[in-house]
Every structure is written in C-alpha cells, then in structure tokens.
C-alpha cells in the first residue's frame, strides 16, 4: 500500500500508534548518560568565575596566584579567546553574532550582567577549582546599570555598548543607545482601518523574562589532543551547531572537532547556543587533559537563557459585529546584554492567527544588564500573542460576543494573506476553534470566584537540513541514525516512520543519534522541525533502502529491477509476467547481502522545505482566592493541529508541557533583581515554576489537518502549545476577578493589588 493510500484509509501499521519509547528504559533506570555523566581518564574539573556586578569595566585580571595553586592545571580569561569580527549566523530560530558570542562566553572589555563569565580554571578537584577562583583578582570599575526594558530605552540610561547606534531608523542616530534595532512590518492602511471601526481598544502589557527551566543544567566534557584534534561531549539541542560555533571561536577546522550530543534533560530552545563548550575546549587545550564543566542551577539562572521580558502596546479596531478592521502594536523586547531578542518573530506572529486587512507592528530590540536571551519555545510569539489575545478577549466582552465566535469571524484560513508575508496553505486554526466551542469543557458550569479563559496561538514551524542513515544489519534489523538530538521522543517517531516505510516490525529498528563524525550536517532540534524535517530525511533514506532491496531481489531472481516491487516488508514480482517467485522478506535479502553486492543501506541528506504552521486554542478554568490573590488552575484543555500525529502520546506530551510552562509564565515566574542589579532568586525555590501538584491533568485534543509537504502530513507541534497559554490563563483570571491585570506574572501580590485589596507596593 502506498503512503497516499495509507493516509487515505488510515491503514498505518505504526504511524499513529503509541509504542514505548526506545530511550525510555534507560531513562527510568538511570542508565541514560546526560551531559555530566561522561568520565574520562585524567579528567579535570572546570569552573567559571562570574561577575558580581551588573555592569563594570574590567580594568585588570590577575590570575598568577590561582595558577600557582597546586592542582590548578589551567586558567583562562579574555586573553585566551581571539577577537571576532561582527558576523551574524542563525542559531536555531535566533540570530547570533560571533563578536557578541565570544564576549558572552568570556567577558572582554566589560562585564554586562551579574554572572557574566570573567575567567575559568581547570583543576584536579572541585575544591581546588573553587579555591583557585577565589585567588583570581579582578579589578572592576563599577558602572551604573539598567535592568528594565523601558528604563533601558530612556535617554540618559546607562549605555551598555558605546558603539551601538539603533539600526532600522532613518537617519541613524548619532548617539549610542540601548536600542539595538527597530523593525516594522504590516500591510494595508491602519489609519483607514481604525476609521471603519465601531470600537477601538488600546492596551499596554508587561511581561517578565522567564527561563526555559530545563531540569538538566548545562554540562560538557572537552578533550583536545596535542595534534589539534578535539572531542566534545555535551548536552545540546544541536551538536553540529556547537561544532560550528566552537570551531569558529577557536579557529579550528570543522573536521578537527567531533561533537557528541549526550542525552538531554530539556532544552526548550535554551540549548541552541554555547556557553561552557568553547571554554572547556580552551581549558583542555591549555591543561593537556580532558576537562568537564557542569553549571550549577545558580549559574544557569544568572548566565543563561531566558526569553525576553517585554512591554507591548496593542490597538485593535472592530466593527459592531466583531470584524477586526485594523490592528497595531509596538513591541519592546529585552535582548539581555547583547542585541538579538526575538522581537522579529514577535512582530510577525502578533496578529498571524487573524485575517486582518490593515496591520502595523513595530518592534524594538533593547539591551540591558541581564543575561543574553536565548530561544524559548516559539521565541517571541508567546509575548506578543499574549497581549493580542487579551485585547481580542476584551473586545469580545465589550461587543457582547462569545470570544470563540469573535475569533471565528476573523480566523486565518487557507488562502489568507498573513500580515508577515506569505499566504497560508491548509491550516487547522478554524478546526481548533470549532473543537473548542463544542468541547464539554467550554460549556461546563463555573463556581464562585472561578473564571474561564480562551486564547489561541500561532507558530511558523521550520524545516531545514537533516541527514539520516539506515543500515540494514545482517539479520534483517535496521540501524537508524539521525543527527538531531532527541528532546521530546523523536527517536520513537523516527523509528516508527522507518518501520512504516520498510514494512518491518518497529522493534527491528534501533534509532540512535549520531555524532558529528558519523553523519553529515544536521541543523539543530528546534523550530519544531525534527519530526517534520528529520522525519522526511528518514523517509527518503528508507526509500533508498527499498530501492537497494529491490535491486538485490532483482539480482537474486535475475529479472529487471522495474519488475520488483516492495510491499509491506517484502520484495515481490510486480506481476506474474515478471516470473513466479516467492516473496523475499527484508531479512531474507539481508542474509544474502554479501552475495548481492555487500551491505545494504540508505542515506538521505536533505533541506526539508514546506514546514506548515501550527495553530492551537486553549481553554482554562481558574479559581482565585480573593483574600490572598492565589490562583488555582482547575481545568485545562489544549486543542492543536498536529497535521498528523506520528506518536500521539508525545504530541500530547508537547501540548501538556507547553501549557504547564505557560501557566508558570502566567502566574509566578519572574526574575527578581536587587538595587545592585544582581539576581536574587537564583534557584527553583524562589524562581517559581509550577510543580506537579500545581497543575490539573491537562487534557488534549489533537486536530489533524495534514501538511501537504510531508508524506504523512506532519507539522511541527513542539512550540505552538506554549503560545496561547498566558493569554488563556490571563483571561480566566480576569474573568474570575472582573478586572484586568495586563501584567505577567499574575502573582498573588499583583492580583490583590488589581482588586484593590492592597494599595501600591511600597519600595
């Protein structure tokens, strides 16, 4: 049966089933090896000295005492890293600049945030390393700092980069500022659009930066040999990207650096860049020993991630019957210490779910004295879409319309021209709204002090470069190798697609993640691309295996290859005209491989095009304790278009995880800075991500509107689930309270303040 036929009548053998994941046993028994789990002979402990200042010029660094300490094998500072010219490259969904990257991994002229790396040591033990750090003398000239995005944009704010002149404004300003860039997009004429509106709402929102919160802290082991070749083991979303970045920063040939991705304990976008890896390599080079570096949680909070905090202004106009006539927004996103916030995608996504004729979005990329932001699930989108969804909800309330009805009136469909450029292909947004409207959750009664919120979300999803190799073993089993680290169960999906194509049992396919020496370049795991793009590579590789198998059968039967077809795991003659032969199984052919030309394999190296966007709609019920401001999430439903769910459990897992992270973002997560510009809540005790008992069971509903550009119809599902969550929770809280907060997180003190139970917070 062809894939098209299988899709037609839903007769898949593996696709759409829920087998146990191949990496599951090792993970629950503790055998799985994560970043910190590699031990090499002679390995040293590497540790980083971090800035205690939010903003300071480094006058001098004296490492002599540390170097003299017995057990210390190497000390590195800015002097051990070469200057990099400005050069922007893609790091997943974000852009990075090598000039900034080398400064982020090791401060040069200035430290730009509390926790910025200033030196590192490699020593025989952790306690020696710790002592050595204390012996490094850094002379700072402390400078005034700025943390908040609005403050950073003010004239007269302390300037982080003396050579930063806002890009994207005419004429280019002649004084430096913290505004790295301004960008603008839109279509139509918003002025005219607002004139047609019967109602116009303008609201301003503030969101706090939030950390990706992966359980596994950054960790790596580097081993540089005297011949210049190096090996690196690390927890990353993309080892080819780590290889490219490190080779560039260290001036190595790419072929001299072999990177292996360990098992990864979460990334969510935060492991798409490098922090420790280049430092460990330089330490190893200097020390002539392997060096392991593992961050503490405090280091993770002070120096990695998060996503932007932002200030967002939204203006929506609509007719009485709920047709949106114009939409405008201004987004001000924190980039952290170096330019490169996800304000670009934030602008593009802001109004993407809606078919609006007149749209204008302006974005500002703003630096301040905080860690450089990193990608976080649908970078930029959750922030702008939260603000827009809140205004859409208020619009529905003011017009006396059901919020889902209002969305249906304006929903983007196949053929809709998105404000950010393209025309949508087949998309499932309307289907998610219809499903939400008829979901029992949406129509269930609410109790006192309870409120229900609905919000939708959009994310592009990407494709890109992926490799896959399938080697058929002598016994007819298949070794499947891909180059994209498995964060969310992708090995299971890859193996299922290979088994489906080859027509063999799933347990005969063993999927592994290859290191950079074993497989060609594969872009990282991010952008919700792996099941789509690497999946496509797996299907192409399987097709090449099948071609090879048919050739072998043709040889065995001595008939032309065109007369052999592959069906459900067997080679058969296409018709009796071709001859009468008993079908040959994959195992039969594998057993005769030596006689028919040697090992059987299929490879694919592709740049997958045609990723299709994901749309989702969330429904949430909350209860608010009006005396304490505490919000309890009572019920949560995620409805999202997956195109085609290869392994529905892992699709549902993505939906649930996104909602869980969104609940944290909405309710309690925030960075607390002291007057001194230092982060005060550098652990999970005070950086309040939700714990399991904070969440209800999150219900899911998978909508399947196939992506025509994938053989099975797959679209990415990993990022969209975060996007609607903050808007949905905010609307639920606001309906329970009867008042709007327009600020995240909706922590208990803010809730009490919003309902007037307490006054303005005293400083």
């Amino acid at each position: 049966m062809s894939t098209a036929e299988k899709l037609e009548n839903g007769k898949f053998k593996w696709v759409g089933t829920r087998p146990v994941r191949p990496d599951g046993v090792d993970k629950v028994t503790g055998r799985a090896r994560f970043g910190a789990d590699l031990f090499l002979p002679g390995m040293l402990v590497g540790r980083v000295l971090r800035s205690p200042h939010a903003h300071a010029r480094i006058k001098s660094i004296d490492t002599s005492k540390a170097e003299a300490l017995p057990g210390v094998k190497a000390v590195v500072t800015r002097d051990d890293f070469k200057e990099m010219p400005s050069e922007s490259v893609a790091a997943g969904e974000m852009m990075i600049d090598y000039r900034d990257m080398t400064r982020n991994i090791m401060a040069r002229e200035k430290v730009l945030y509390d926790g910025h790396a200033v030196a590192a040591v490699a020593a025989a033990s952790a306690s020696v390393a710790r002592k050595a750090l204390k012996l490094i003398k850094v002379e700072y000239e402390v400078l005034p700092h700025v943390i908040g995005v609005i403050e950073a944009m003010e004239p007269g704010a302390p300037v982080l980069h003396e050579a930063m002149f806002t890009e994207g404004v005419e004429p280019t300003p002649d004084t430096p500022s913290n505004i790295a860039a301004r960008n603008e997009l839109g279509r139509g004429d918003v002025e005219a659009g607002f004139k047609k509106a019967d109602i116009i709402l303008e609201r301003t929102f503030d969101t706090a930066p939030v950390h990706q919160g992966y359980i596994e802290n950054h960790a790596c082991v580097a081993s540089v040999s005297e011949d210049g070749k190096a090996e690196l083991w690390c927890s990353t979303q993309g080892h080819y990207m780590v290889r490219a970045f490190c080779a560039k920063l260290l001036g190595m040939d790419i072929s001299d650096l072999r990177v292996t991705a360990s098992e990864i304990g979460g990334g969510f976008g935060g492991k798409t860049i490098v922090y420790l890896e280049p430092v460990a390599l330089v330490l190893s080079q200097k020390a002539h020993h392997p060096v392991k570096m593992v961050m503490t949680r405090e280091e993770v909070f002070r120096a990695t991630g998060p996503t932007s905090g932002a200030n967002v202004w939204v203006k929506l106009g609509a007719t009485k019957d709920g047709k949106i006539t114009a939409a405008e927004a201004v987004l001000k996103y924190q980039a952290g210490a170096f330019p490169g916030s996800p304000v670009g995608p934030g602008c593009m996504c802001a109004f993407a779910p809606y078919d609006i004729e007149n749209v204008k979005v302006v974005g500002y990329d703003v630096v301040s004295n905080r860690p450089k932001v990193a990608a976080y699930r649908a970078p930029g989108a959750p922030i702008s879409e939260y603000a827009v969804e809140c205004v859409v909800d208020e619009l529905a309330e003011k017009l006396g319309l059901d919020p889902i009805e209002l969305r249906l009136k304006n929903a983007a469909k196949e053929g809709t021209q998105a404000a950010y450029g393209p025309k949508f292909g087949p998309i499932g947004f309307v289907e998610t709204l219809e499903a939400a409207k008829s979901h029992p959750h949406y129509n269930a009664p609410l109790g006192p002090n309870q409120g229900r919120g609905v919000a939708s979300g959009f994310w592009f999803n990407i494709g890109g470069e992926s490799c896959a190799t399938i080697n058929i073993n002598e016994d007819g089993t298949a070794q499947l190798m891909v180059g994209t680290p498995d964060i969310g169960g992708s090995r299971a999906s890859m193996a299922m697609m290979a088994a489906e194509e080859l027509g063999i049992d799933l347990d005969k396919v063993n999927p592994v993640i290859g290191d950079t020496g074993s497989l060609g370049f594969s872009f990282l795991t991010g952008g919700s691309r792996v099941t789509f793009a690497t999946g496509k590579a797996v299907i192409v590789a399987a097709g090449n295996v099948i071609t090879d198998l048919r050739e072998r059968a043709a040889k065995i039967w001595d008939i032309p290859v065109d007369a052999v077809e592959w069906e459900d795991g067997f080679a058969r003659p296409t018709s009796s005209n071709a001859g009468e032969f008993d079908p040959l199984s994959l195992a039969d052919i594998a057993a005769m491989a030596a006689k028919t030309g040697g090992p059987i394999a299929g490879h694919a190296q592709i740049n997958a095009q045609g990723a299709a966007p994901g749309f989702g709609t969330h429904i949430v019920d909350v209860e608010v304790d009006k005396e304490t401001g505490r919000v309890t999430v009572l019920r949560y439903t995620v409805i999202q278009d997956a195109g085609k769910a290869i392994h529905p459990s892992y699709v549902e897992g993505q939906y649930q995880g996104g909602a869980a992270q969104g609940i944290g973002w909405a309710l309690n997560e925030e960075y607390v800075y002291g007057e001194d510009g230092r982060m005060q809540n550098t652990g999970f005790l005070d950086y309040r991500m939700p714990v399991a008992s904070d969440l209800p069971m999150i219900d899911t509903q998978i909508i399947e509107v196939p992506n025509p550009n994938h053989p099975y119809g797959v679209r990415g599902v990993g990022e969209t689930p975060l996007v609607p969550a903050m808007g949905a929770v905010a609307c639920a809280v606001e309906h329970a309270l009867g008042t709007r907060l327009n600020e995240l997180p909706m922590s208990p003190p803010r809730v009490l303040k919003a309902i007037g139970a307490i006054g303005e917070a005293q400083a």
């Binding site: 020696v128 304490t628 999970f684």
Partner: protein, 289 residues
C-alpha cells in the same frame, strides 16, 4: 589540603565535648536538608560536622507529664506517624508535615527547622502557638526555654558554643483545645512560606475562648508571638467580630520587608487573612475535642 571532619557521637555528653573541643567552624547535622543545601551552595565551609542522629535521646518521642517530649532529631515522617502527638497537637504535626516533600520529610527534623532559624520555618509558629519549650544541653549543663526564644534573627540562635537542642516539649492540653497552622505559598508544594500563622486555643464549657496563643512566621526577622491577636480571642465565642479583631491585630503585628518572596503590604494583609483562617480551623478542632 584541609579536610572536613565528620563525627557521629552516641551521647549528648560526647557531642557537647566534641563541639567544645573543636576549633574552627562547627555545624550540627540532623536531617541535613538545610545544612547540605548550604554546603553545596558554598555558603558555609565547616571544619567539623557533628551528626546528632546517632544519639538515642534525640531520636525518641516519649510521654511526659501528660505532654510529649520529642527528640530534636525525630524526622517529620516519624512524627506524622505518631498518633498520640497527632491527636493532641494536630496543628504542630500539620506544620511539620508541610516541610518539603516525601523525601525531605524522611530526613527533616523539628530541631533542624528551629535551629536553622529561618524566619519562614513552618514548624516554628505552630510550636510557639502550642507553648512548646526547647531543651538545651551544653558545657554548662541543661536548660529549657520557650521555643520563641531560640531563634534571634535570620540564621541566628541563642545557642552558645557547644550547645545542642536535645528535644522539644509539647505540654499536655485541656479538653476543648485545638491548634492549627496555615502558610501561604504561591505554589502548592516545594515553596517557602510568604506568611505563616499558628493558632492554639482552648474553649471553656460555655464555648468561650479561655486561652489562646497566636504566632506568625515570615513577617519579621523571626517568628513572632502575637499577644494582641490572642487577646482578641480570649473571652469571646470566637465569632466574626473576634476573628476580625484577631486579623487586625495580626496584620498590625506583622513587620515584614519587601523581598523576592512577597511585598511588605501583601504580607501584612495576608497575615490577617491566615491568622483568621487558622483560628477558624483551631476553633473547629477545639469544638470536636
């Protein structure tokens, strides 16, 4: 390179002798759920760690004068399984059981919670409300003091060099008594009290409050015994008016700071809310006992 020393004596006298004899920084180890975190975070670098879990006297629960003497190193899990203490002092037990998760419960102790001297420690307001005392052994012998006198400020206690808390004593209680402890945290678990409130009260035959103690946690440099809040209840039937007065007195006594865990005015407000709710729970228990 200097080493950290670990000792686990099996008598109080030996423990005191080790503490007195040791130079440098010494730390007592009970469950270690605070101490190990502090060690890992490199906030402390003790030269001697003295484990008190091998001392029988510190790990037993015994009856005494109608009340209970609880060894300072008894774990939360053990206390939670002690039906006698649970029946007499449900508020104290519920406070101890709030500490951490199942894993933490099987290590964490009341002695550690008290001596770690966090203003937000959960068991302390409940113990203060209960009128508990702490038994202390040291180079100059033994003494017994009210629990509210143990902590003097964040991370600071009144213990002198060589002193150990050996046990905590919960007195016997009259009929129609009840206690309760509530804390406010933004999450449901694994969080630290933004405000804690413990209330213990006794009703007379006519249902009027004849005795009460109210304590607040996390709203000052240490847990507070709030006499004015107790007075708001004594002599009343613990009706709405009395509860309102109690809430006002609790808010008035709170003197918190703005910090990463909550704003000052938020904590003041919630002090009253929680004291009221804790008093209602204690009242319910008193009526049923």
């Amino acid at each position: 390179m200097e080493q950290m020393r670990y000792e686990a004596p099996d008598t109080v006298d030996a423990a005191v002798a080790l503490l007195v004899g040791a130079g440098g920084e010494t730390r007592i180890l009970a469950g270690g759920t605070d101490l190990l975190v502090q060690l890992r975070a490199e906030w402390i670098e003790p030269d001697l760690i003295l484990d008190v879990k091998k001392i029988p006297e510190l790990t037993e629960i015994s009856k005494e004068n109608g009340g209970f003497r609880i060894g300072a190193a008894v774990t939360g899990a053990e206390l939670g399984e002690h039906l006698g203490v649970k029946k007499a002092w449900p508020g104290v037990v519920e406070a101890v059981e709030l500490i951490g998760s199942v894993q933490i419960q099987s290590r964490a102790t009341m002695g550690g919670n008290l001596c770690n001297a966090s203003p937000a420690a959960d068991s302390v307001p409940a113990l203060i409300a209960a009128g508990a005392t702490a038994a202390i052994a040291g180079p100059n012998g033994r003494r017994e003091i009210p629990v509210e006198d143990v902590g003097t400020g964040p991370g600071r206690t009144c213990l002198a060099k060589g002193e150990i808390v050996t046990s905590i004593f919960l007195p016997s209680r009259p009929a129609h008594s009840g206690d309760a402890y509530l804390r406010f945290i933004p999450r449901t678990e694994m969080d630290i009290a933004v405000v804690g409130a413990g209330v213990s009260l006794t009703l007379d035959g006519g249902g009027k409050c004849s005795a009460a103690r109210v304590a607040l946690g996390a709203v000052a440099e240490r847990a507070l015994l709030v006499d004015a809040a107790a007075r708001a209840l004594i002599g009343t039937p613990v009706d709405d008016a009395a509860l309102d007065n109690l809430a006002k007195a609790a808010s008035a006594a709170a003197r918190p700071i703005d910090d990463k865990r909550g704003t000052k005015e938020y904590r003041i407000k919630v002090s009253g809310v929680l004291a009221r709710r804790a008093a209602q729970a204690a009242l319910e228990r008193a009526r049923q006992s």
